[in-house]
């Protein structure tokens, strides 16, 4: 599994209130939430982001509220992955449960810049700048996390597991 796209750079402590403001929390629909993703931090994000693009940010990404609407909005916006030196713990769990790949890699965050074309291989944990060939190694996902993400989230993963057990 991998993703390839342009880098969107953001700073430290990107909180869930800017990822998806509470005024939109009366829905959990990915397409509806995606329309407002990052709008209090970067109004141009939604218009610019394309399928497979990568959010690269500073430490403690996703801090604040436990709202699962945050990873749903990012995934719904088309972003293929978030890379940061560290994630807030509730966001970390929620992202995996929602099937949004996230990688901790401080070196890649330092080495990448806004607009870089980047390829991320989730199985190996390799993050590569497509233009320069420079690459960084993040801790790859263990098999069960990869399966959750491949299934599209924890619920589908549990249902698939139970389905195969019954079959």
């Amino acid at each position: 599994m991998n993703t390839q796209g342009k880098v969107f750079m953001y700073g430290d402590n990107v909180d869930t209130d800017v990822i998806i403001p509470a005024r939109y929390l009366t829905t959990a629909d990915p397409a509806e939430l995606a329309k407002h993703c990052m709008e209090d931090l970067d109004k141009t994000y939604v218009d610019r982001v394309q399928k497979g693009d990568v959010i690269v940010a500073g430490e403690n990404f996703g801090c604040g509220s436990s709202r699962e609407h945050a990873p749903i909005a990012i995934k719904g916006s088309g972003a293929g992955c978030v890379i940061a030196p560290s994630f807030a713990r509730i966001f970390y769990r929620n992202a995996i449960n929602m099937g949004l790949p996230i990688l901790e890699c401080p070196e890649a965050v330092t080495g990448l810049a806004e607009g870089d074309e980047v390829e991320v291989d989730f199985d190996s944990g390799v993050i590569r700048n497509v233009n320069t060939g420079e690459s960084w190694q993040a801790e790859p996902f263990p098999a069960f996390i990869s399966k959750i993400i491949q299934s599209g989230g924890l619920v589908n993963y549990i249902r698939a597991k139970e389905g195969s057990a019954e079959a």
Binding site: D15, D17, D40, G64, S66, R67, R89, V155
Partner: protein
């Protein structure tokens, strides 16, 4: 190596004698909780899995965030959750107006639902509040909560621990809110990332329960997984009054940290040195001592929330409003955090004081704290708030500015029209 309180509680809930930091465990849950924002997706998760609630007595649902319903979508969400609670005859469903209603982190302690040694998760980041009750409590997302509603279990990584060793006593009007803002200013919003925040030392005994709940409430604002206060006489008296039946049954367990417990970091805090604190926009870690910055005019004050909506907070605020008036051009919104607090505030004459001082008094709700309703901010407006987050856009327009402070500072600011403390009223 010895264990912390958090580690002992987690070990007991996965049937083990010991656990160590970094281990992944599956733990039994004493309670799972959700609100009107996170509850509906959690219920849908449960339904998608095709499971029934694991125990009707161990699921709490609280329509606190947008209640009383702020719009049609919020009303539909609240109805969906209410109908689920009725269908499954959940013991802990709360409705506004009822005596036991309030913001979830107010009413779980207040109604004696959480006891020492319990493990609970809530689909709300401020679930860490219940760490003040010597319980393990942490926030999760809706999917984790939906799965936990089905199984009564959840997986955890046993957290590393950070010790906050307290000595001395806070000097009034300095409060628990000032202490936690002081700590977050010191260690930063990721200073306790993934860790448990264990409060120890002789200074703990001097903190009343309302202060402990405020401090534990904001552990997540330092990145903490949970907060943990020891079970002492102050706590035992608190739970005894709130749930005498459970107390009498002895249906709880007190854990103590081992003398050689493994703390990755240790902070010494002399409570007497903590000043009145104000966290500047737009991070809870931007704390400055009151009096160290220029006069800052304000438009609005909010006193309430799961952080500071307790009767002690209402009493402190009313003290400064007595025979005074909210400054011209400032709106002040006071929100008792629960129906019980509201009733008590009425009986003590505090509501009378607020209203005649020119405040608006709202029913219990999370409302303005997350920019929901009952006091959303316009562009460029400046607010002093006793809530927990001052992120960009948190309380309304992304151009609004939120300063976090204690009830004393918030009330004095409302009276003066700029960020002020009790000393400014003299």
């Amino acid at each position: 190596m010895g264990m912390t309180m958090t580690q002992k509680i987690l070990a007991a809930h996965c049937g083990r004698d010991s656990v160590h930091a970094g281990e992944l465990i599956e733990a039994k849950l004493d309670l799972v909780m959700a609100n009107d924002v996170t509850g509906p997706p959690a219920i849908r998760t449960l339904e998608e899995i095709g499971a029934a609630p694991f125990d009707r007595d161990r699921i709490a649902l609280v329509p606190s965030h947008f209640a009383p319903n702020k719009d049609i979508k919020a009303a539909e969400n609240a109805r969906f959750m209410r109908e689920f609670a009725r269908k499954h005859e959940l013991k802990y469903y709360f409705e506004h107006g009822e005596e036991d209603f309030g913001i979830e982190h107010m009413i779980l302690p207040e109604n004696g639902i959480v006891f020492p040694g319990d493990v609970l998760i809530g689909a709300d980041s401020h679930t860490c509040t219940d760490g003040a009750l010597a319980a393990f409590a942490t926030g999760v997302g809706s999917t984790d909560l939906g799965c936990a509603m089905a199984t009564g279990e959840s997986w955890f990584k046993v957290p590393e621990a950070m010790e906050f060793h307290l000595t001395g006593a806070l000097q009034a009007p300095v409060s628990g809110k000032d202490l936690i803002l002081y700590i977050i200013a010191k260690i930063g919003v990721a200073g306790a990332l993934y860790r448990s925040m264990e409060f120890t030392g002789p200074g703990v005994a001097s903190l009343q329960m309302s202060d402990r709940l405020t401090i534990a409430n904001m552990a997540v604002e330092a990145g903490g997984k949970n907060a943990m206060f020891p079970a002492d006489d102050v706590l035992l008296e608190y739970i005894k009054v709130r749930n005498p039946e459970r107390f009498a049954r002895g249906d709880y367990k007190i854990y103590e940290a081992d003398p050689d417990a493994d703390y990755v970091e240790r902070l010494e805090i002399d409570l007497a040195t903590v000043p009145l604190m104000v966290a500047f926009p737009s991070l809870p870690s931007n704390g400055k001592a009151l009096g160290t910055f220029p006069e800052t005019p304000i438009d609005q004050v909010v006193i309430g929330s799961c952080t500071n909506g307790r009767i002690e907070d209402m009493r402190v605020a009313a003290e400064y409003f007595k025979d005074r008036h909210v400054a011209k051009g400032v709106r002040c919104i006071v929100i008792p955090g629960s129906q019980k607090v509201f009733r008590q505030a009425l009986e003590e004459g505090l509501v009378h004081t607020f209203i005649y001082a020119g405040c608006v008094v709202s029913p219990p709700t999370c409302g303005p704290c997350l920019g929901g309703h009952m006091g959303v901010l316009a562009n460029h407006e400046v607010c002093v708030s006793t809530t927990n987050r001052n992120f960009v856009g948190r309380m309304g327009h992304p151009g609004a500015q939120v300063y976090l402070a204690s009830p004393a500072t918030a009330a004095c600011s409302a009276v003066k029209g700029f960020i002020a403390g009790p000393a400014d009223l003299e």
